[in-house]
Amino acid sequence: MLRGDLLTVPQPDLVCQDLTKDFDSFRAVDHVSFDVPQGSFFSILGPSGCGKTTLLRMIAGFQSPTGGDLRIKGKSMIGVPPNKRPVSMVFQHLALFPTMNIGDNVGFGLRQRGVAKAEIKTRVGEVLERVGLPGVSARRVDQLSGGQKQRVAIARCMVLEPDVLLLDEPLGALDLKLREHMKVEMKSLQAAFNTTFVYITHDQSEALVMSDNIAVMNNGRFEQIGTPHEVYHAPSTAFVAGFVGEANKVTAKVSAMRGQHVKLISDAGTEMIVDTPQTGLDVGTWAEVFLRPEIIALGPANDDEGMNVQLGTVESVLFNGANSTVTVKDKTGSLMNVALPQTGAFANLRKGDAVVTHWDPRHARCYPVGS
């Protein structure tokens, strides 16, 4: 970036450059680079053990990177201890101090800065009001519900007006209903405070709902950085396609190629046609094809419209409200999950019924094996 650009493009709050962390012989974080613009909600999504916690703890200062640079508001944070960094962290189990009441918890950071008592009291009151918990200062930590504790933990950080707020899967401990609710609330709190959030999670739905940008992480590397829409609909690697959202995965061999049209034969012997911009494919190479349940259409047994048409029988119906699926077994015996249309058209589908599945070649994703 040229010097002159700094005047026009706002500087990102957080910049990581080639950040690397080695433990003995194991590389937990491998040359990760990204930047997070001011006021945005950035999620790092990945399975457990992918290095996302290590990455977050490096940003907070609890791990020192083996290599690379980390800048917050343009200042390098290498060698800066955690208590001197302009970041705050919401811990996985929140880490509210059980020996203090709510007010003292929220006021802790201000006390460390030597703020006058009276001012601490007003600022604590204000921030608790902003998170929707006015007047709870005198309560003990164990007198709050799970969702309230969550908000107190955020308030305890926000009262310090950090440049970046880090969140380490804070919703993990909540039950399903509350988690759904807190997703929405978290997003609106972020918008209200207009602070940069960096959120790590293994739950794709949390990342998709809340984030402006998502980084999908695997084996210490970022597989893709993009908006939730991009990550879901245009996954750039097989890992992202498999990890984000539901998908049927078929391993197949390329039998013919014409431009973007690729013809493949699955190892079970089913023929299919896929449109893909993906390079690295050639006749005779193996590929993985990902089909989301909702892109596969169902039809009556005598229907032969569309492309990639397959005749099959219903193996099982999994009713789950709006997310209901049917498993269809084709003539080669391979199974395919298909979303049940919301229209109720196939409501009477039973095990053993004959159906036809078809899908648009443009909606499938195809990646060379071993990429």
Binding site: F62, M89, A95, F108, Q112
Partner: protein
């Protein structure tokens, strides 16, 4: 609804504990109190009165020894806490896995060994012909033998040595249960080592500190071996005085009064410790 067999079972379980507590704890202490308020007026003739307690307060040697024992015990407790806390913190928070187990075992082993053996070890180290004296002479620091035994410092060294485990173990247990993320959260919010120690670690460790202090104070107050062997004949420890009244002088009435006073002091300190920290005896002692 309670069936007859389970009621019978309940009484069968209740019997041993009642026998134990009533016959060996409650009645003997009531008896001790009764003896302490009886005065001998002739052979096998007694009357009730508080003369034994009066004797304690009027004879300066008695109450001074009592006060000295109490103050030295408080000092020993404070020293034990100051010396033991960093060790407990190190074991609980800075070591993991095998190292932690080894260090913990190394702390425990000396305390499975009889107190007599430990005190004997200190005697070999500290006396005039002892190891320290010889080493100092060899190094040329002193010209002749030095006697380091039979003074208050020697008693203190022995008392701290004898009781430090009872401080370290409850502290390790409570500090172990302090989640690392609380300390990290403290740093993350801008805290320094000192403020985190004061506001997070110590409040969390309070139950351990209280139970450790109570046990160490009691052990020091009731200690007999260490003051007698390391402090010598004139160590002026209150338990020694009780022993003299009972075994040497055969004045059980006065000895009982002394015993009761010691018991009262130790109970008072336990009570005070629990009240100040807002804890109950069950939760404090039950854990150790």
């Amino acid at each position: 609804m309670v069936s007859d067999t389970s009621r019978l079972g309940f009484y069968l379980l209740l019997a041993p504990i009642l026998l134990w507590l009533v016959l060996l704890i409650i009645l003997p202490h009531v008896g001790l109190f009764v003896v302490s308020i009886s005065e001998k007026i002739g052979p096998r003739e007694y009357e009730t009165g508080f003369d034994n307690y009066a004797a304690f307060f009027t004879e300066p040697l008695y109450w001074r020894t009592f006060a000295r024992t109490a103050i030295m015990s408080i000092l020993a407790t404070a020293l034990t806490l100051i010396l033991g806390f960093p060790i407990a913190y190190y074991i609980a928070k800075l070591t993991r896995g095998r190292t932690k187990t080894t260090l913990f075992l190394m702390c425990m082993i000396p305390f499975w060994v009889s107190e007599l053996v430990r005190t004997f070890g200190w005697m070999i180290l500290l006396r005039e012909t002892g190891v320290f004296s010889n080493v100092l002479q060899y190094l040329g620091v002193v010209s002749g033998p030095v006697e380091m035994l039979y003074n208050d410092a020697a008693i203190m060294v022995g008392l701290v040595y004898t009781s430090i485990l009872f401080m370290v173990v409850p502290l390790v247990t409570t500090l172990d249960s302090l989640d690392d993320s609380l300390i990290e959260a403290g740093y993350d919010l801008g805290g320094t080592s000192t403020s985190i120690l004061r506001e997070i670690v110590i409040p969390h460790a309070m139950p351990g500190i209280v139970s450790g202090c109570i046990v160490v104070f009691m052990l020091s107050l009731g200690n007999y071996l260490t003051p007698i062997l390391l402090g010598g004949k004139d160590s002026l420890w209150f338990t020694g005085m009780i022993y003299t009244q009972f075994i040497t002088r055969f004045n059980w009435e006065l000895g009982s009064a002394f015993g009761f006073l010691l018991l009262a002091l130790s109970s008072f300190v336990v009570f005070l410790g629990l009240k100040l920290s807002g804890q109950s005896l069950s939760e404090t002692m039950g854990r150790s």
